[in-house]
């Protein structure tokens, strides 16, 4: 299959190792990965902040960039960006009275998947150790991000896949379904409330004794990791794509040495 990677702006600029891991996983399964060069961002931050005109321009660029290349399906290592592509692009186009864009956005949205959605539903991956050679011999916990959980209805796809990684020990996160408090510009506009939510999430992570918290959204992980780091916590965060891509020969960094700088040292 020809798979178009939607890296998302935050992964492209801040967590390139997550996008590289995504490519590795897909190529290991024998698929061809293409990167539509015109892509930049889904526009979620603008949309959710009420800047609809700007958001529409960003969304239009996304639609255009993915129309410019040929592919079977598109994938992003981020539930919230996929939710934005699927649910918000049409709304933005409709508000501007652009029915043409609305239809094109629907077409792109219909073929865009969150990583584990693609792996499980389309590519039939149910056992990461067997099918991807995934190996990560550490104790981790897992936070399901809100958009993946509630807008995309990912269910347990992410968690179930993580559990099948070789050598891994996944411990349950108390109150896992509680929002981490990121919410894009919410964490700036209502910084104090966001911090209060983050503190509770960090306390839950701490209570598990796991040395790292994984998840499917780089932005939530940046927020959680940033809070853990400020609190001087030993635990860090790592995107699930990096854990799935980790093998015996090419391991993702061990949790204690996990560099929250996104694997920049690698």
């Amino acid at each position: 299959m020809k798979i178009a990677l939607f890296a998302t702006c935050i992964v492209d600029a801040m967590y390139p190792s997550v996008a590289r891991a995504t490519v590795q996983i897909l190529e290991r399964l024998g698929h061809e990965v293409v990167f539509p060069a015109g892509q930049a961002c889904c526009g979620q931050m603008h949309t959710n902040s009420g800047y609809f005109d700007a958001a529409r321009k960003v969304a239009e660029n996304h639609v255009h960039a993915f129309e410019a290349v040929e592919y079977d399906v598109a994938v992003a290592p981020s539930g919230s960006c996929v939710a934005s592509v699927r649910h918000q692009h049409r709304m933005l186009a409709e508000r501007a009275g652009d029915t043409d864009l609305a239809e094109r956005a629907d077409a792109v949205g219909a073929t865009t998947y969150e990583l584990t959605q693609l792996l499980v539903d389309v590519l039939g991956v149910t056992n990461a150790a067997e099918q991807l050679g995934s190996y990560f011999p550490h104790t981790i916990t897992y936070h399901p991000s809100c958009h993946g959980m509630r807008l995309l209805r990912l269910g347990d796809r992410q968690l179930d896949l993580l559990k099948t990684v070789g050598g891994i020990d996944v411990v349950e996160l108390p109150d896992a379904d509680q929002c981490c408090g990121f919410g894009g510009t919410f964490s700036m506009k209502n910084s104090q409330v966001s911090t209060a939510m983050l503190e509770d999430k960090a306390a839950s992570i701490r209570s598990t004794g796991a040395s790292l918290c994984s998840g499917g959204d780089a932005s939530c992980l940046m927020h959680i990791g940033g809070g853990l780091s400020r609190a001087g916590d030993a635990a860090g965060t790592l995107h699930l794509a990096e854990i799935l891509a980790s093998t015996i020969d090419s391991p993702a960094p061990a949790p204690a040495a996990t560099d929250t700088t996104t694997g920049a040292t690698r």
């Binding site: 492209d12 600029a13 892509q39 509630r150 510009t185 700036m188 911090t195 939510m197 940033g226 560099d259």
Partner: protein
Amino acid sequence: MSTTFMGMPAVRDTAGHGNLHASEPFPQAATRELGNAQLRSNLRHATHTIRDKRLKVVGELDDWEALRDAGAATKNAAMANLPALLEEFEKNFTARGGVVHWARDAEEANRIVTDLVRQTGSDEVVKVKSMATQEIGLNEHLESEGIAAFETDLAELIVQLGEDKPSHILVPAIHKNRTEVKDIFLRQMPQVDPDLTDNPPELAMAARAHLRKKFLSAQVAISGANFALADTGTLGVVESEGNGRMCLTLPDTLITVMGIEKVLPTAQDLEVFMQLLPRSSTGERMNPYTSVWTGVTEGDGPKNMHIVLIDNGRTNALADQYGRTALNCIRCSACMNVCPVYERTGGHAYGSTYPGPIGAILSPLMTGIEAEDNGSLPYASSLCGACYDACPVKINIPDILVHLRGEDVAAQHQQRKLPSEMDLLMKGAEIALSSGKVLNLMEKALPVGRLAAGRQKKIKKLPGKLAGAWTSSRDIPAPPAQSFRDWWKKEGRG
């Protein structure tokens, strides 16, 4: 008896008034409330308990999703047909001996109720807990007119005696613990036992003794209504304690104050709503008391029956194509009980009678986004979506929040000449993010960020109010040496 007939309902562009406003920006109010550790632990305990109960009883019904769909469909249809339903209700309510009054806004409603009470010659009323009267500030208005209003719902009584404001629509005293309640009773109830402890049954008995006297002497009662049935002209109140039923049956005059959106087409519709409401609100299969009354009956119950139907910004909300489903709300409070923001700040931070996720959309929809600080309310959410999942009538609160943020940005842009910090941030991001080429250029600066991060590989402080707010509690990792797209290109992959 003279009545204050206000004419048929017409769609007027009338903003809502009364207790529907945030009087300071939400972030400011929230920060203050966050500092109250007792409040936070009371709220956490209460919301988590009721959440668990709700999940359990909702899980018992195989057809819960179908019920939610049915509830949403009935409400949507009722809202689309509101004028006709209200007329039908008026006809049937009047035919059964009731009197209908229409109020455009809070002021008009308060005036109508005051006149009605005056006509009875009484200067005291007992009240069933009512959101509509909270919304219009009826108690304060009556007091200013020399009429004493006594709340009879236990939690509402605690709030009233404590000279406080409700913090939750269903559990108004959710922010108070037992000891605080005991102290209020000792202070405010004239004949209370001075040895009163904070044992809940004892507290309940003290309240009961206090209220009993009021029930037996009151000539006038004021109630809200959970629903009105158009086909029979029936009103209904759903409650837990039975104090409401005392109000509804003992006094001679009963005045109900109700928002126009509460009308349902037929008695049959109760089948759905009486399943959705108790489960969503108190986590019970059935609420203890459901009172339903249709008109005046000789020798039984109130002799005079009035209803004041208030608009107060509801037609405004109805005119908003993206926001109108907010009027489907049946005031169950499930959304606030699951909201992580409400859980930390409590209801007072929202300023309005309607707190939590529904309040963050309903208040600005009813008053207009520019009213006082209501434009800050739609941002009081991380858009986690828990409210939408919990809502028994499937109001897509996150989508409406986003819509109202857009309204706020537009309103701000009209009022302001100089761009705000957020405007600048968004403009910069728009330029960077609407083209792969530009983003690629910007990413060339990533190594500068690495330098700024220093040896710790963390950025601990960013300039500006907004970015600085982020780094007040969170480190930012050092950026990578190279963006993904740069790596991809250097690998020769395209």
